[in-house]
Each structure stands twice: as C-alpha cells, then as structure tokens.
Symmetry: C2
Subunit: 347 residues, 2 copies
C-alpha cells in the first residue's frame, strides 16, 4: 500500500518535495494557502534568478508543471490545515479548501510554509509608502517581472537609483538581529538588470557588508566591472523629499568617513525575510517549536536541519530561516527522503 505524506506549502521547497515523493508512488497531499503554486517567486513575479540570471520559469515554472501534471499529488489551493493531531506514529489532519473539509491520515509530514518579506513601513526612517519612488526589493522584482523599469511617480526612466541593503535585517531596532542571506545578491542582480535596461542610470548600493557569498561573488564583480554599479559602504539614516520630485538619502559613508545627502529618482529598500505569521501558527497547530528568530526550529542545525523536534514532521525551505531558492529546493529533497524513510518504517 502506498504511503501517504502531507506537504504543507507549495513554494519551491514544497513543490520539489512533493514531486520527488510522487515519483516514488507516494500519495502526496500538497496544501497551499494561496490561489496558486510557486510561493513568493510566483507571487512577486521573479523573472530572472541569481546567480546565473536564468529565467525563473526554468525553475519555478518547471516545478509547478511537475506538480500539476503528477496524478500522485492531490493538490489543494486556497487551503489550510484546519486541525492536526498525532495518531500513534501517524498524523491526522483536516484540510480545509474552497471545496470543503477533508480528514486524512498521513505517515509523515513536510512543512514548507516559507517566509514573508519584512515590511519596510515598520521602520519609519525609510519613508516607505510615503513617497511613490521609494519601493522595496519585491516591488522592484515584480515591476521588472512585468517589464517596467521606470519611476512609479511619473513613469520616466530614473537618472539615478539607490539600493539600500539590510532593511529589516541585522537590525536590532526592528527586532531582526539576523542577516537575510539573499538580499545582497538579489540587489546586485537587480542593479545589473537596471543597468542593462537603462545603461545611463547611475545605480548606488549602500551596504554594511556585501554578502555575495560563494559563487555569488561572480555577480558582484560583474556589477562593478561590467556595469559600473557604485558600491558604497554606508548607512542611510533618513529618507526625505528633495527638489525636482527626488527623494534624498541622508547617511554616512563609512569609508570616506563623512556624511552624504544625495537626491535620487528612485530608492529600493532591500527588505529582509521573516518567519511570517504562518510560522507560529504552524508551530502551534503541529506541536513543533519556533526558534528565537521566529522561524521553525530545526532538530539540529548541522546534522538534521530538515527535521523538526517531532518525529515524523520534517522541515524544508525558508520556514527554517532565510535562504536562496536553490537551498530551499535541496532541502525539499532532503526532507522528502527522510519523510519517505519514516513513512516506509511506520506504514
């Protein structure tokens, strides 16, 4: 008899896990709260992915197609887990979707509920939502995904753009001490895309540390050498309105050791990643733990980052912390493997 495995979350990690399990003949129930699969990359219309600038469709599109075409995956959209309980070594869940409620028994569970972007409106110094031309990393990603590279205020090409890193990350004032891992590389990628579209536009990146780790470094070199992106070590302390429909970034250049005050046509805030309200909700519902950063807690951060503290419940993707899509997919595979082994043993 085939195993039954529940996958909660239809982003990159959950999709990959579901497809892998379905390939082994497992009956997978894939539960997604949104009206579509693909997670944040789909929601914010990612068009090109770092580090190789390949079309997001190659990755996200493939995963969605793979899940949609697989009959071993029962797909639930606009759905959630209404209730959940342990049942010996198995789990019983009520899945509620637009078509009603269904009670099912599962041999194991994978949680892949992802992340939320930090809301930059929470930090007033950035004047997000106050000025049309102050947008954030996901707004720009969506705009560029729709082929729009112009200023929100007037639809014209920006003469200059400031990209501000670590918005809502590495910042105790907003409660997020951790680094969000991918914003540096995403921002460098966005700077390159802006320069490719408007070569005359000046693009500045204000950073604390540029964390284009591993091979992402290639993109950093490319931004500086091929596209003349200005990478400035400095913190922006305030954004105010400027003359001629500009916004002024005030701050300090840490290397030049002096204050700056520069009018920009457009400012992009590299908002970090948070566990989102779904993390405590999942922890509560499934009886698993949260970590001190508001993400789901891994059984052992090195030996078993894909396990929760509860036997039979596995974790994958950004629900355990900020990470790149590649890392989320890999974790989806590792969690699927363990969830399958667990199901085999107990079914």
């Amino acid at each position: 008899m085939a195993e039954n495995i529940l996958v909660i979350g239809g982003g990159p990690a959950g999709l990959h896990a579901a497809i892998e399990l379905a390939e082994l003949g497992v009956n997978v129930s894939l539960v997604e709260r949104d009206t579509f699969f693909g997670g944040n990359p789909k929601k914010f219309k990612y068009k090109y992915l770092f580090p190789d600038l390949q079309p997001a469709e190659n990755v996200i599109g493939e995963l969605i197609k793979g899940a949609e075409s697989n009959n071993n995956i029962k797909k639930y959209l606009s759905a959630n887990i209404e209730s959940f309980k342990e049942d010996g070594k198995k789990f019983s869940a009520v899945i509620k979707s637009s078509t009603g409620s269904e009670t099912k028994t599962f041999d194991s569970v994978i949680v892949a509920t992802g992340f939320e972007h930090f809301d930059p409106a929470k930090d007033s110094k950035y004047s997000y939502q106050l000025f049309d031309d102050v947008i954030d990393i996901k707004d720009l990603e969506r705009m560029m995904g729709e082929g729009n590279f112009t200023r929100p205020s007037n639809g014209k090409p920006p003469k200059n753009v400031a990209i501000i890193l670590c918005v809502g990350s590495r910042d105790r004032h907003v409660g997020n001490q951790y680094c969000s891992r991918v914003c540096c590389t995403v921002s460098v990628k966005q700077a390159i895309e802006l320069k490719e579209h408007f070569p005359e536009t000046e693009v500045y990146i204000f950073y604390m540390d540029i964390r284009t780790y591993g091979f992402y470094e290639d993109l950093y070199w490319k931004a500086m050498e091929e596209h003349d992106v200005q990478i400035v070590k400095g913190r922006v302390a305030e954004i105010t309105s400027g003359p001629d429909n500009t916004v002024i970034c005030k701050g300090e250049d840490t290397l030049l050791r002096g204050p700056f005050e520069i009018p920009f046509d457009m400012v992009v805030l590299a908002s970090g990643m948070e566990g989102g309200p779904q993390s405590p909700e999942m922890a509560d519902k499934l009886g698993i733990e949260l970590d001190e950063h508001g993400f789901l807690k891994q059984a052992n951060v090195t030996l078993s980052p894909f396990k929760s503290n509860k036997d039979g419940i596995f974790l994958a993707g950004a629900c355990t912390g900020p990470k790149a899509i590649a890392d989320a997919i890999v974790e989806g595979g590792a969690a699927a493997m363990d969830a399958y082994i667990y199901a085999k043993k107990n079914s």
Copy 2:
C-alpha cells in the same frame, strides 16, 4: 531485488547519503580515498561546530557511527575508483582498495568528493611556513581540537592574535575569484574559542566583508559583545618578522584610511576552499563536467544543484563549491533521493 548505488567520498555529504539509502534497503558501496571516514572535519579534528558550538562529535561522530553500523553499506577505505564506464542505463566501476580490485555494477552514483583547503604557501606575502607562529585555519582547528591554544614557536599563550580572512578567496591573483563562504564564520568561532580559553589575549580579525550570513550573524554579535574581538576592515599586504619573537602584519585599515604595522604573537590565515585535484580526476573518470572555478558542475545551479550533467550521476557537498557541513549533509539527502528514484526506475 535491491538497488545498487555507488557513493564516492566518505565525508559528511557521502556519509549522510549512504545512510539514508541504506535505510531504504539499497546496497550501498561507500568508497573513501582516506584511511578513515568523516572527511575534512575528521582529518583536521574539528571539535566544535559553528554556529551553535556543538561538539563536532554530535554530527561527524554520529554519521560515522551510522555508516559503520549499517550492514547495507559496503565500506571501502584507502580506496579509489580505478575505472568507470556506462553500461546502458547502469554504471560499471572497478573499486580498488587495500584488499584488491572489485568490479561492480551500479544503478546510480553519488559523487561527494569534497574540497581541499587553499595552500597559503602559494601566496608568499603571508610568509606561511616561514614563521612558526603563522598558521592557517585548519592548523588552528586541529590544534584546538587537540586542546592546544598556545604559540607553536614557544608553547606560550599568545598575547595577541591576528586572524586574516580571504586567504586564497576573493583573490584573482591566486586564481580564486569566488568567496569560500564559511571562513568568516569559522574564524569568528575560532576567535571566540581563543578568547574563552585565554580571555586576556587580544584577537583581531582583518576582513574585507564579514560574511556571517543568515543566523551565523549571532556568532558575530557574540564575538564583538561578549568577547571583545576586534573586527577591523582592512587588508594585510605583508607579514614579516618582528622584535621579541613576533610577526608583523602590515596593511591598511580601510575604515581609518591609514596604514598599520602591528606585531602579533600568532597569525591565523583563513585559507579558503578549492575543488582540489580530485575534482578534475572525477570529472575525467566519470565523464562529467568541471565548472570555471574547478569544482564539479551542477546541472542547474538552482533547480538541480545535486545533479551532474550526466543522467544517473548525482553530486553532493563541497565538491560542487564551498559550503558549510549543514549544507553538505542536506545535499547528501537530496542527492540520495534523486539517486534512489533513478535507480528504482532503471533497475
């Protein structure tokens, strides 16, 4: 009939992959070139792991025990793949070990051959091997693993220690443009361990960017706030001998915009990670590709980082690029899942 899967490399990634497959009843052949399992963490006697400073034994010891106690894993030490060829959808390999040569047929293959540390002697400015008190990241890890925190030259506690990041990384002069991902966090961890052992010792870290990405950031805060580690943005350009059996680090403080010349009792070079000679050897033997950095090439860096360009041959761990032990283990799981699916379909 059980599937047969070959795992090449007995470090964290290979061990985890082998154990997971064996749990599913697969006949695993685990081939390790060294005389022991555990890879570089075992070779250099890692004692505590970042980011939570848990004993390495919790992770590496567990994996070794798991593989050694599993009868579905045929273990080959001091062994290598003498020859390899495709055989329809299967693979035929000759495994050579101290007990002789064996020819076996496999349904799929996982390559997890790991990395080598950059040899700092290749960059003469660091005077590695010229002065006893200039050591590198793996030397210090091994020393601390053996409970030794003192100066190599005289066995006394160091009054001050310099840790120099990006040795052999982010450096085109030595041919490695990429960042090695983990050296920042390992170095911050080592600084904390030094300070815990000798609270009076002054520890400096010279960096370009501190890349304690994600939750590794917690360790960076800890080093600064709890242990008063001095974190200095600056490049060391030369190491020479100094008075009173010291070594002098000369360089420029990028933030203070001035040169420095400081005598240290001990200097630790944070040597990066390289693909090592085993990567081109494996690529050649298995007919898979190398990337431009000298690591094994992933089929798709985002969608399938655990696949080679050849069907049935999968990749895991640092053989595809610098990464943390956690990431290597997760990739071991993801590669195992795919190798199992491939074997199931074709066996």
